[in-house]
C-alpha cells in the first residue's frame, strides 16, 4: 500500500461533512411497529381488529367459530333455538338474491365478526357491565357454540372436536340443572 492510501486533510473534511443521520418517513415507524406486532414482539393494542383477535378470551374464540358456523348452518340452527323465523329470513333473502356460496360465506363472516366484536367490546367493559348483562352475553356465546357444534356434527358426524364440544356443553347443562323456561338471548 503506498502513501496515496492516506486521506488528505481536505478529504477527511469532505467525509466528515457527509450527513450521519437521515429523517425517516413517519409511515416507516408505523410499518415497523406493525411488523413487530405481527411477530408477537410487541402487544397488539386493544381497539384494533388485530387487538380484538389477540385479547379475546377462550369462550369468545369459541363464539367466533360458533357464529360463523351458525350462519353457514342457517336454517337448522334456527330450529334448534326456536328462532326459525330469523334464520329463515336470512336464508330466503340469500336465496332470493341468487347469492353464491362465496357470497353467503362472506355474509356469514361479516355478521359473525360484528357479533363477536360486540362481545369483545362487552368483555372490555368489565368494570361497567353489570352481572346480568355479562351473563347474558356469555350465554349467547355458549349457545352459539353449541349450535355450531351441532351443525358440524351434522356435516361431519365423526368430527371429534364437535363431539367434544357437545359433550362438554351437555355435562355443563346437567350440572347446572334445567334450562330456564324462556331464553333471554336474541338470535341474530
Amino acid at each position: 500500500m503506498n502513501g496515496s492510501d492516506e486521506l488528505t486533510p481536505g478529504e477527511k473534511r469532505a467525509f466528515e461533512a457527509l450527513p450521519k443521520e437521515r429523517a425517516a418517513r413517519a409511515e416507516l415507524e408505523t410499518q415497523v411497529v406493525a411488523a413487530l406486532e405481527r411477530r408477537g414482539l410487541l402487544p397488539i393494542p386493544l381497539g384494533t381488529a388485530a387487538g380484538r383477535r389477540r385479547h379475546v378470551t377462550p369462550w369468545l374464540v369459541g363464539a367466533v367459530a360458533a357464529a360463523l358456523a351458525l350462519f353457514v348452518g342457517g336454517f337448522a340452527a334456527g330450529q334448534y333455538f326456536g328462532a326459525r323465523s330469523g334464520a329463515a329470513a336470512v336464508l330466503s333473502g340469500v336465496q332470493a338474491s341468487g347469492a353464491s356460496a362465496a357470497q353467503v360465506a362472506a355474509h356469514a363472516e361479516r355478521a359473525g365478526t360484528m357479533y363477536v366484536a360486540a362481545l369483545v367490546a362487552l368483555n372490555q367493559l368489565t368494570d361497567s357491565a353489570d352481572a346480568p348483562t355479562r351473563a347474558r352475553a356469555k350465554q349467547a356465546a355458549l349457545t352459539a357454540l353449541g349450535a355450531a357444534a351441532e351443525e358440524v356434527a351434522h356435516l361431519a358426524p365423526n368430527d371429534p372436536l364437535a363431539a367434544a364440544v357437545l359433550r362438554g356443553l351437555n355435562e355443563r347443562s346437567r350440572e347446572q340443572g334445567p334450562a330456564p323456561s324462556s331464553r333471554s338471548v336474541v338470535w341474530f
Binding site: 500500500m1 503506498n2 486521506l7 450521519k20 425517516a24 418517513r25 413517519a26 416507516l28 413487530l36
Partner: protein, 186 residues
C-alpha cells in the same frame, strides 16, 4: 416529507427504554426507534448505494432482529453500536440477495496510476462516488472513513481479516478519487 427528527425527542436512557420494550411497552419502543432510526437509515442508505426502499427494509429488519434479541443484549457496548452491527449484517444480507457484490473484479478495472486526492468536493458528488463503488469496497469505506470504525472493528464485524479491509479501503479510496477527478482536456 412527513419526517421525525431525532433532536425532538426527550432524553431517556436506552437501557430503561429497552426494559420497557421487553415488558411490551410500545411507547418505549417508539422512543428507541425515533432516537436511533435516523442514523440507521443513513447508514443503510449509504451501504446500499442510495436505494431508499431497500434501506427502509433494512431498518425494519434491523429493528425486528434487535427486539428479538433484546433480552440477550448484555449492555457491554452502547445500544447504538449494537444496532449498528445488526444493521450492517442486515445490509450485507440485502446486498447478497441483490447480487451486486463485485469486489474481486473491481481492482482489475482500475487504472494503474493513482488518481490525485480531491480537495474540494460537493457532498452530493461524494455521495454519488461512494454509491458507485462495488458493494464490498463501499461497505469498508463507509465504515472506516464515514463512520470512523477501525480496521480491526470492521474486520470483526465483517468476519474477515484486517488486511482484507485495508486492501479494500485502498482500492475504494482510489476509485472515489478517480470518480471525483476533474475531466482532463475538456
Amino acid at each position: 416529507m412527513n419526517a421525525v427528527a431525532a433532536s425532538d425527542l426527550p432524553a431517556s436512557p436506552d437501557r430503561a427504554l429497552a426494559e420497557q420494550v421487553l415488558a411490551g411497552d410500545e411507547g418505549a419502543f417508539r422512543q428507541l426507534y425515533r432516537r436511533h432510526t435516523p442514523r440507521l437509515l443513513q447508514l443503510a442508505l449509504r451501504l446500499l448505494g442510495g436505494a431508499e426502499a431497500d434501506a427502509e427494509d433494512v431498518v425494519q429488519d434491523t429493528w425486528i432482529k434487535a427486539v428479538e434479541k433484546l433480552d440477550t443484549f448484555r449492555w457491554e457496548s452502547a445500544f447504538g453500536t449494537w444496532l449498528h452491527a445488526i444493521a450492517l449484517n442486515v445490509s450485507r444480507e440485502a446486498l447478497r440477495k441483490r447480487g451486486r457484490r463485485q469486489e474481486t473484479a473491481f481492482p482489475e478495472q482500475m487504472e494503474p496510476s493513482a488518481p490525485a486526492p480531491f480537495e474540494r468536493v460537493e457532498v452530493m458528488d461524494l455521495e454519488r462516488a461512494i454509491a458507485q463503488l462495488p458493494d464490498g469496497y463501499r461497505t469498508v469505506l463507509v465504515l472506516h472513513d464515514v463512520e470512523g470504525f477501525t480496521h480491526e472493528e470492521i474486520a470483526e464485524q465483517m468476519g474477515v481479516a484486517a488486511g482484507t479491509t485495508k486492501s479494500q479501503l485502498f482500492w475504494a479510496r482510489r476509485a472515489v478519487r478517480a470518480q471525483l477527478a476533474p475531466v482532463k482536456g475538456g
